[in-house]
C-alpha cells in the first residue's frame, strides 16, 4: 500500500470571462467551424463555390443583367441593336403572354378564365389554412360546387333539364345499348354456325332491353312532358330537389334524426337554383367557348387540378379493392393497377384521343380535353393506389380490430381509423405523384392540346420574334412557372405532414 496524500485546493481569485481565442459564433465562426474545419470540407466548399459560379452566375447574367426588357419585335433582341450580348428577350414573353396564359380563348371572354381562377383561389386558400373554420362547407364548395361552376364559366352553355332528365337520359342510353347488343347478336345468328344459340341469346338481350325501356318509361315520359312544357330546368330542379330531400330524410332516420339533413339538402338545392339564375343557365348561359380554343396555363391547370382531385379517390378505391376479401374486386383492382402502371402516359393519351372514339357508340362523342382528363386521372389513380397500399400496410391490424370490437362497421373503420392513418404515412409519396402529374400535363401537347408548353412551342413559330435567345427565354419562363407550382406543393406538403404527425412527437 502506497500513501496517497490528498492535496486540498481552495480558489483565491475567480477567473474573469474571456472571449474564445478562435471565433465560433457569427459569420466568421460559421465559416471556420462548418466550411473550413477539415481538408474534406475545404475541398467541398471549393467545389460548391465553383458550382455556384458556373450555374447561378450565368443564370443571373442571362435572366437579368444581359436581358432586354422592352421592344416591339425581334430587332430589339438582336445583339447589334442592343449593343451588348443579349440574354433573355423579355418583350417576347410580354407579347405572347396572353397566348401562354389563355391559348386562343377569345379576348372578350377572358374575364371568365380570370374569374374562375379567382374563385378557385378564394375557395382553395381557406381550405389550406388549418386554423380557419367551416372546413366541410368549404370542402363541399371547392370539390363539388366549384367544378360545376367552373365548367359553365369556362365552357359556357346552359341546361334545359336537371336530375330527372339526366337520370332518364343515362338510363335510356343504357337500355338502348342493351337493345343494340341484342340486335347485333340476332344479326350475327344468320351467318354463324351457332345460329340458334346466338339467336336465342340475342332475342333475350333485346327483350331485356325492351323491358328496361318499359321500366324507365315513367321517367322518360316525365322528362318529355317537362321538355314540352318549356319551363327550362326549373320544374325538373324542383322535382329533383323533392325526390333527393325525401330520400335523404328517409335514409337519415326520418323525423327522429331531426330536420337538419332536410334543411341541408333544401339549402343545397336553393344554392344550385341561385347559381343557375345568376349565371343565366336557364337561358343558355354564357357563349360556348370550344375546348379546342383553350390553351396555355389554363389547360395545364385544368388538367392538373382535375387530375389531382380525381386521382386520389380513384387511388383510395383501388388500394382498398386490392386488399378486399372479395376475389372479383381484388382481381379487378390488381389488373387495373398493373395495366395502367405498365403503359406510358403517352400511350394512354394517344389511346384516349384516337382510339376511344372507335369503341364508343356512334353518336356518342367525348370532347378532346375531357378524354385527356379521363386518361390522366385514371393513370395517376393507379399510381396513387400503389402509394396508398404502402400506407395501408403500415397500419397495424390491431387498429382495425379495435375499431371492429367497438362495433364500427367496415366503412366506418376504414374511413375513420385506417385511411386517416394510412394517408398520414404516405403524404410525401402522394404529393410526389401530384408533382409528377403536374409536370406530365405537358405531354398532352402531343395529342393536339395546347398546354403551357405546347403554347410556348407554338409561339416560337412566329417570325416576328425569331432571335437566337427566344427559345431559351421561353423555356426559362415556363420553367419558372412550373417550378413555382411544384415547389409550392412540396412546401405545403411538408407543412401538412408536420402538422398531421404532431401526435408522433412525444
Amino acid at each position: 500500500m502506497t500513501d496517497i496524500v490528498a492535496s486540498s485546493f481552495v480558489r483565491q481569485d475567480l477567473v474573469a470571462e474571456r472571449p474564445a481565442p478562435v471565433k465560433t459564433s457569427g459569420f466568421v465562426g460559421f465559416v471556420r467551424t462548418r466550411l473550413l474545419n477539415s481538408p474534406t470540407n475545404i475541398l467541398l466548399t471549393i467545389l460548391g463555390l465553383l458550382l455556384v459560379w458556373y450555374t447561378v452566375v450565368p443564370a443571373i447574367k442571362f435572366l437579368l443583367v444581359d436581358a432586354v426588357w422592352s421592344g416591339k419585335d425581334r430587332t430589339a433582341c438582336l445583339a447589334e441593336n442592343a449593343g451588348h450580348p443579349v440574354g433573355a428577350c423579355w418583350p417576347f414573353i410580354q407579347a405572347k403572354s396572353t397566348q401562354l396564359f389563355y391559348g386562343f380563348y377569345p379576348e372578350a371572354e377572358r374575364w371568365r378564365v380570370n374569374l374562375t381562377f379567382a374563385l378557385g383561389a378564394v375557395l382553395l386558400l381557406p381550405l389550406l389554412v388549418p386554423r380557419l373554420p367551416a372546413k366541410s362547407l368549404n370542402a363541399g364548395l371547392f370539390f363539388f360546387a366549384f367544378p360545376a361552376v367552373a365548367f359553365f364559366l369556362l365552357h359556357g352553355g346552359g341546361i334545359t333539364g336537371f336530375g330527372v332528365s339526366w337520370v332518364a337520359g343515362l338510363l335510356q342510353l343504357f337500355a338502348d345499348s342493351i337493345s343494340g347488343a341484342g340486335a347485333i347478336l340476332v344479326g350475327l345468328s344468320k351467318t354463324s354456325a351457332a345460329g340458334p344459340l346466338l339467336w336465342a341469346a340475342g332475342s333475350l338481350t333485346a327483350l331485356i332491353g325492351t323491358l328496361l325501356h318499359w321500366v324507365i318509361f315513367p321517367l322518360t315520359w316525365l322528362r318529355d312532358q317537362m321538355q314540352a312544357a318549356g319551363q327550362g330546368p326549373w320544374l325538373d330542379l324542383s322535382i329533383t330537389a323533392v325526390i333527393v330531400s325525401v330520400i335523404l330524410f328517409m335514409l337519415g332516420g326520418g323525423a327522429r334524426a331531426g330536420s337538419r339533413p332536410l334543411m341541408a339538402s333544401l339549402a343545397t338545392f336553393a344554392g344550385i337554383a341561385a347559381v343557375i339564375k345568376l349565371m343565366g343557365l336557364d337561358h343558355g348561359g354564357l357563349p360556348i367557348v370550344d375546348t379546342r380554343l383553350w390553351g396555355g396555363l389554363l389547360v395545364t391547370l385544368v388538367i392538373a387540378i382535375t387530375g389531382i382531385v380525381a386521382s386520389l379517390p380513384i387511388g383510395i378505391a383501388l388500394a382498398l379493392g386490392r386488399r378486399s376479401t372479395i376475389p372479383l374486386i381484388r382481381i379487378f383492382s390488381i389488373t387495373y393497377i398493373e395495366f395502367w402502371r405498365g403503359v406510358p402516359l403517352i400511350t394512354v393519351l394517344f389511346f384516349a384521343t384516337y382510339m376511344l372514339p372507335l369503341f364508343l357508340p356512334g353518336n356518342f362523342t367525348v370532347d378532346g380535353l375531357v378524354r385527356a382528363l379521363i386518361g390522366v386521372s385514371l393513370f395517376t389513380g393507379a399510381y396513387q393506389a400503389e402509394n396508398l397500399r404502402g400506407g395501408l400496410a403500415a397500419v397495424p391490424r390491431g387498429q382495425s380490430e379495435a375499431a371492429s370490437a367497438l362495433g364500427l362497421s367496415w366503412w366506418k373503420t376504414t374511413s375513420l381509423i385506417v385511411l386517416p392513418q394510412a394517408l398520414r404515412h404516405v403524404i410525401p409519396a402522394i404529393v410526389n405523384s401530384f408533382i409528377s402529374l403536374f409536370k406530365d400535363t405537358s405531354l398532352v401537347s402531343i395529342v393536339a392540346l395546347f398546354d403551357l408548353l405546347g403554347s410556348l412551342r407554338a409561339s416560337f413559330a412566329d417570325p416576328v420574334w425569331t432571335t437566337p435567345s427566344t427559345a431559351f427565354t421561353g423555356f426559362a419562363f415556363i420553367g419558372i412557372i412550373y417550378f413555382i407550382f411544384c415547389f409550392g406543393m412540396s412546401r405545403y406538403s411538408l407543412f401538412v405532414e408536420r402538422r398531421l404527425n404532431a401526435h408522433r412527437r412525444n
Partner: protein, 245 residues
C-alpha cells in the same frame, strides 16, 4: 343462477388443418368473473376473440345476451355492441386524442350527440383516474395510462361483457398494478369479465372461476381456491408448478 349472459357450446375452430379450439363449452353468468390461463399457444386469445367475432369458427354456437352467433357470424354488429374488449397492445387510435378515442364509438355507432358523448367519456376517464390527460395523444402517455384509456374507451359503449386479452403483459411491473386496480374496481361494480391473464394474484382476488386451457381445450375449471390448492389434472399441476415456483 341459470341465465348465462355468454353461452359457448360445442365450439370448434381450425386454422387450415390446425385444430385450435376443440369442443369448448363454457357458460358465463351475469356478473361472473372468469380468468382463463394456460400455456402459450393453447388458444386462449382465439377463444375470447371468438366471443366478439374477431375470429370466425367452423362449428358450435356462441350466444351473447340472447343474441346468437353461429358459424356464419350473423348478428356480428349486435354482439359487438354488447361486448367490450381490451387488447394486450392497447390498440388506441394514435391519430386521435384520448377524448376522441373515447367518443368515437358512441358517436358513430350509437349516434349519441358529441356533447353527451364527451360528458360520458370524461366520466369514464375519471373512473380510470386520468381525466386531466383527455387532450393528450396516446403516444404521449405511459403504457399503464394507455391501457386504462383503452378500458375507459371500451366502457363508454356500456358493454354487458368485457373481454381482456393479457391486458398487463406488455407493461412494466410498476404499471401492472394500476391497470389491475382498475380491473378490480370494475369487478366490484359487478361487470361480467372474461380475462386472459397470467396474474395469478388477480385470479385469486377477483375470479369466481379459473379456466385452464391447453392444446385448444378446457382442461380444468374451478373456483380459485380449489384450482390453486388442489388442481386435479396432471397438466394443471405441471402448469401451476411452472408459473408459481
Amino acid at each position: 343462477m341459470s341465465d348465462p349472459i355468454v353461452n359457448i357450446s360445442g365450439l370448434n375452430k381450425w386454422y387450415g388443418e390446425f385444430h385450435v379450439l376443440r369442443d369448448i363449452d363454457l357458460e358465463v353468468e351475469k356478473g361472473e368473473r372468469i380468468v382463463i390461463c394456460g400455456p402459450s399457444g393453447s388458444g386462449k386469445s382465439t377463444l375470447i376473440r371468438c366471443v366478439n367475432a374477431l375470429e370466425e369458427f367452423q362449428e358450435g354456437e356462441i350466444v351473447v345476451d340472447g343474441i346468437e352467433l353461429g358459424p356464419n357470424l350473423k348478428h356480428v354488429d349486435a354482439v359487438r355492441r354488447e361486448v367490450g374488449m381490451v387488447f394486450q397492445s392497447f390498440n388506441l387510435f394514435p391519430h386521435l386524442t384520448v377524448l376522441d378515442n373515447c367518443t368515437l364509438a358512441p358517436i358513430w355507432v350509437r349516434n349519441i350527440p358529441k356533447k353527451d358523448a364527451e360528458a360520458t367519456a370524461m366520466k369514464f376517464l375519471e373512473r380510470v383516474k386520468i381525466p386531466h390527460q383527455a387532450n393528450k395523444f396516446p403516444g404521449q402517455m405511459s403504457g399503464g395510462q394507455q391501457q386504462r384509456v383503452a378500458i375507459a374507451r371500451a366502457l363508454t359503449m356500456n358493454p354487458k361483457v368485457m373481454l381482456f386479452d393479457e391486458p398487463t403483459s406488455a407493461l412494466d411491473p410498476e404499471m401492472v398494478k394500476e391497470v389491475l386496480d382498475t380491473m378490480v374496481d370494475l369487478a366490484e361494480e359487478g361487470m361480467t369479465m372474461l380475462v386472459v391473464t397470467h396474474e395469478m394474484g388477480f385470479a385469486k382476488e377477483v375470479a369466481n372461476r379459473v379456466v385452464f386451457m391447453d392444446a385448444g381445450q378446457i382442461i380444468e375449471a374451478n373456483t380459485p381456491n380449489e384450482f390453486f390448492a388442489a388442481p386435479q389434472h396432471a397438466r394443471t399441476k405441471l402448469f401451476l408448478s411452472q408459473i408459481l415456483r
